[in-house]
C-alpha cells in the first residue's frame, strides 16, 4: 500500500454517508458498522430510524440500568424509543420495507458487483450454518440502498467485483458503495468513483479494485 494514501476510518465513512442523508429521511441502519452513521449526522439534521423488528423512531442505547428486555433493535441490542415513535408487528414492519417507504438503508457487504448485486449474508463456505435474517428484505427494502464497507478483504482482494462469487442477497439493488478508498455510484452506465481518499488516483484505485471505473 502506498504510504501516502490516507484511507478513511470507519468513522470517516459513516460521516460521508451521514452527509448524504437529508433531514427528515426514514432510514434503516444495518447491524454493525452502519449503526455508526447515526452518530455522525450534521447539526440540525434529524433522521427517523427504523428497526425491522417493529419500531420506527428508534433512539440511542439506554443508560446502563435502564435496559428494557422488550425494547431491542434488529441486532438484539438494547435501544430506546424517541417521542413520536411507533411500534408495529413484523408483517407490517417488513411491508414498510418491501413497499419502498424507507428512504435509505445502509448495509455491510462481503461483495458488491458492478451492477449492484449484493452478497452479505453467507460466505459460501460449505460448513457454515446458514442464517439470513432480514438481509434479503433489507437489500430490496429502501428507495436507496447504500453499502458501507472496507474496499478490500483482509487478504487484499477487492470486494467491489465484476461478479459476486458469494451467494447473493439481492440483485441489482445497491445504489452506492461507501468505502475507505472512495465512494462508488452504481449507475446503468457503470461504476463512478468519487471522493477518493487523499493521495489516491483514479488509475491506482482502478488497479486496486480491478473493475472498470469512471471518474466521479
Amino acid at each position: 500500500m502506498n504510504q501516502d494514501i490516507k484511507l478513511l476510518s470507519r468513522r470517516d465513512i459513516a460521516a460521508r454517508i451521514a452527509a448524504d442523508i437529508p433531514d427528515g429521511a426514514y432510514v434503516n441502519l444495518g447491524i454493525g458498522a452502519p449503526t455508526e452513521v447515526a452518530n455522525c449526522l450534521p447539526d440540525g439534521v434529524t433522521i427517523i430510524l427504523h428497526t425491522e423488528n417493529g419500531l420506527l423512531g428508534m433512539g440511542p442505547s439506554p443508560p446502563k440500568g435502564d435496559e428494557d428486555e422488550d425494547l431491542i433493535n434488529a441486532g438484539k441490542q438494547f435501544v430506546t424509543a424517541l417521542p413520536g415513535a411507533a411500534y408495529f408487528h413484523h408483517a407490517d414492519s417488513f411491508a414498510m420495507m418491501r413497499g419502498g417507504h424507507l428512504d435509505y438503508c445502509v448495509l455491510g457487504a462481503y461483495e458488491v458487483s458492478v451492477r449492484g448485486d449484493l452478497a452479505n449474508w453467507h460466505t459460501g463456505a460449505n460448513d457454515a450454518i446458514p442464517a439470513v435474517g432480514g438481509a434479503m428484505d433489507l437489500a430490496i427494502g429502501a428507495k436507496s440502498v447504500f453499502v458501507m464497507m472496507d474496499l478490500l478483504t483482509k487478504k487484499g482482494a477487492s470486494k467491489l467485483v465484476e461478479r459476486c462469487t458469494s451467494p447473493l442477497t439481492g440483485v441489482a439493488c445497491v445504489k452506492r458503495v461507501y468505502t475507505d478508498h472512495a465512494t462508488f455510484d452504481i449507475t446503468p452506465e457503470g461504476v463512478a468513483a468519487r471522493d477518493l481518499a487523499d493521495g489516491l488516483s483514479l488509475a491506482a484505485l482502478q488497479e486496486i479494485c480491478g473493475v472498470r471505473l469512471t471518474g466521479g
Partner: protein, 223 residues
C-alpha cells in the same frame, strides 16, 4: 420535521389533472369531506378515484362526480339509494367503473403499500368479477390472481395526528384509511385534532408517520 399543513387549499394544491386519488371512508364514516371539497375547489379533473363507495347524497365523492371531475372510479359499491350523480353518468357512459369486491379492494391496496407484486385470493373465483383473470388451484382451493392498486394521492380522515404524521382513528371510521395511507405517493390526512409529538401512545398508533406526507386539522362541524 413538521407535516402539519397550513390550510386545506395547501393540502390539495398540487393534485394534477389525471391523478389517481384514493379516498378513505365506508358510507360516511371516515370520509375526508373537507379535503374532497378542497379538491373540488382546486379544480383537478379526469381523476381516477379509488374508494369503497361513490358518495352519498350530493356530498363527498358524489359531489366530485357531480362536478364531472372523475373519469373512472374503482370501488366495491357505487350504488347509493340517494345519490344520482354516479348513476346518471355511468348509464350515459361518461364515467368508467372498475367494480372490485370489498375485501379484494382492501387487499390490493395493502399489496401496493407492502411491495407485493400480486396475490391469489379466493374471493370472486367463479364469478363474473373474475372473468378474464388468471386463476390457480392451490392445495385444493381455487384462487384468482389480483394485482396491487396504488395511487398518486390518498385522502383520508383520522382522529388525531401529530407533526410526524402518526395517526390514530376513531371506531369504524378507521376502515380504509390505514391501508390507503401505505399505497399512495402522497398521503394527506384530515384529522379532527392535531396533537404534539409524543402525545400519541406508540403502542396504539395505527398509521406510523412514514406513510403520511401532510396532516391538516379540520374541527368537526357543529350541528
Amino acid at each position: 420535521m413538521n407535516k402539519i399543513c397550513p390550510s386545506l387549499q395547501a393540502a390539495v394544491a398540487d393534485v394534477p389533472d389525471g391523478a389517481t386519488v384514493m379516498i378513505g371512508g365506508f358510507g360516511d364514516a371516515g370520509v375526508p369531506f373537507q379535503l374532497i371539497d378542497a379538491l373540488i375547489e382546486q379544480g383537478a379533473k379526469d381523476l381516477t378515484v379509488i374508494s369503497n363507495n361513490a358518495g352519498t347524497g350530493e356530498t363527498g365523492i358524489a359531489a366530485l362526480i357531480k362536478n364531472d371531475r372523475v373519469k373512472k372510479i374503482v370501488c366495491s359499491f357505487p350504488r347509493q339509494a340517494n345519490a344520482s350523480a354516479f348513476d346518471e353518468r355511468y348509464l350515459a357512459g361518461r364515467i368508467a367503473l372498475d367494480l372490485v369486491p370489498q375485501g379484494n379492494l382492501a387487499e390490493r391496496i395493502r399489496a401496493a403499500g407492502a411491495g407485493i407484486g400480486a396475490f391469489y385470493t379466493p374471493t370472486a373465483y367463479g364469478t363474473p368479477l373474475a372473468d378474464g383473470k388468471e386463476t390457480r388451484e392451490i392445495a385444493g382451493r381455487h384462487y384468482v390472481l389480483e394485482y396491487p392498486l396504488a395511487a398518486d394521492y390518498a385522502f383520508i380522515k383520522a382522529h388525531k395526528g401529530d407533526p410526524l404524521g402518526n395517526l390514530v382513528y376513531r371506531k369504524t371510521a378507521r376502515n380504509f384509511g390505514p391501508v390507503m395511507a401505505t399505497a399512495a405517493k402522497c398521503t394527506v390526512a384530515q384529522v379532527t385534532q392535531v396533537v404534539g409529538v409524543g402525545d400519541l401512545d406508540p403502542e396504539a398508533i395505527v398509521t406510523p408517520g412514514i406513510f403520511v406526507k401532510r396532516v391538516i386539522e379540520v374541527a368537526p362541524a357543529r350541528c
